[in-house]
């Protein structure tokens, strides 16, 4: 029945096409002068021009970057220490620790969102950028910890012993041996945290207060209000930025590989 089947190959490329077709149409439409995507009304940049004069989009962008910056900083710190602890120690405490780090990865965002909202309401904390940052840190910590933990799996524990053996104390060993070696994992985790934070809509939507509108929340309300061409333009810019970042990461990791090989 299956004789060197071509089906998986065809299916794969079809699905990849399925992944990118809507995105491609969106980008094309951002240059479409016609309001609806159904017909081509000629090439235009007017939607982009409109975008640059929209104050609320710039505000939302600034909010997003602020939240992402602090969330990345804090979650990278917490995630790295968590990963080191999980890797170095075994026992009941770390089992519990691992569960707490792991479960947020699989809990639906809406549950995280509503529970944090209720938590802040119960504590009578005013919603705003600080609560947003705390929420983002909470779901980013786990991703950072997993990224660093992946790097630690390949780490040879004997290196720490070697450093101690040569007279270094724990702090010196951590600074000069452990951190430099797991640094790529920390960077990867930090990048992941940054992207997740910038992209997050559901959790942000729940814990957002007045004046803490982030870019995804702004996009959502634009979708609701139906200003389609403007979102096309905004999305295209965001997609371009994302692709650029991915390209840079690919380029860096390729270089890294080459370095490690020779």
């Amino acid at each position: 029945m299956i004789k060197k089947s071509k089906i998986p190959g065809i299916l794969t490329w079809l699905v990849l096409l399925f992944f990118y077709l809507p995105i491609l149409l969106l980008v094309v439409n951002s240059f479409n002068a016609s309001r609806t995507g159904g017909n081509w009304g000629g090439f235009t940049l007017k939607w982009y021009a409109q975008l640059f004069t929209a104050r609320e989009i710039w505000n939302a962008l600034i909010n997003s970057l602020l939240v992402a910056f602090f969330a990345t900083l804090i979650s990278t710190l917490l995630g790295t220490t968590a990963a080191i602890a999980l890797h170095r120690y075994k026992g009941k405490l770390q089992n519990m620790h691992y569960c707490l780090v792991y479960v947020p990865l699989v809990v639906p965002e809406i549950l995280l969102g509503i529970s944090l909202l209720l938590f802040f309401v119960a504590l009578q904390v005013e919603l705003g950028l600080p609560t947003m940052i705390m929420a983002h840190v909470t779901f980013c910590v786990s991703y950072v910890a997993m990224a660093v933990l992946a790097r630690l799996q390949d780490f040879d524990q004997a290196l720490l012993e070697a450093s101690r053996d040569l007279g270094a104390n724990t702090w010196y060993t951590t600074r000069k041996v452990l951190l430099p070696i797991i640094f790529p994992g920390i960077v990867a985790g930090g990048l992941l945290a940054f992207t997740l934070s910038i992209d997050d809509f559901v959790i942000s939507f729940f814990v957002a207060g007045p004046g803490s509108t982030t870019l995804p929340i702004q996009i959502y309300s634009m979708i609701r209000r139906g200003s389609m061409p403007l979102i096309n333009a905004l999305s295209s810019i965001l997609l371009a930025v994302t692709f650029l970042i991915i390209l840079v990461i690919q380029w860096i990791s390729k270089n890294q590989e080459k370095k490690e090989k020779t």
Partner: protein, 292 residues
Amino acid sequence: MNLRRRQLLKEWGLTSPSLLWLCFFFLLPTLIIFAISFKPSDPLGGVGDGWTLQTILALRNPNYPEIIGRTLWMSALTTVITLVLSVPIAYHIARSKPWKRDLMLLLTVVPFWTSFLIRIFAWKAVLHPDGLLKKALVFCQLISPESLLLYRPGTVLMVMIYTELPFAILPLYAAVEKFDFGLIDAAMDLGAGKLRAYLSIFIPGIRNGLLSACLMVLIPCIGSYVIPDVVGGIDSMMIGNVIAQRTFVDRNLPHASALAAVMTIVMFLPLLYFLKGKKQEDGTATPAREVV
């Protein structure tokens, strides 16, 4: 003894930042969901004083069984279709030449990094009544001009599969890549047909990958909110939408909380099952939604 105490101190020093943070901002809020389910609402949109069973009893709303049923049914269907599509794709990627494999993996990973909202919005534009797909289908006389592509359960299902596919392909790819294809040769050498060899050797061989892919698709589906909200209609509402509605429209937080408690319980059943299986398998399953 002194050495051991110092060790313990160091362990706590490294563990406590993340442990305390997650206890405070994850464990406690999750418990609060259950507590607030027993609180009355207050007219200002906050949480009232005292304790009541009214909120829990309000869950007897006749619409809810249907919505919960739909949520589970749509999630299960999405999971099954996604997995059926993903296994051959993961197989194909894992068995391709290195450069092709890297390219296909990159193309699968990129959606991870692009905004979730934008990808859903892109579909809305494609399926829009004035959109390209509708026009093309009407032109080919496949559908009548009056029919709707948007705001239907099928639309929600398709977009959910679209967003979940990468999350299934990646863990499955990791599992297929580790699979020793010599085993298939061995099975066929022992007289098994190709189909039988794949069903009895390959599928059990990637069991861990299947399990974690299944979990990674199923649980976010149960919590779906944005997709039914943006491309779905009244007849494709899921629990997530009701929670959002109670939170933002009715401003009845205890009611939203009770629904979230229901969702937590529904979601924890497959999760516990998975974690149990994972422990037995010595934790080789990929951590959830991990990209790097």
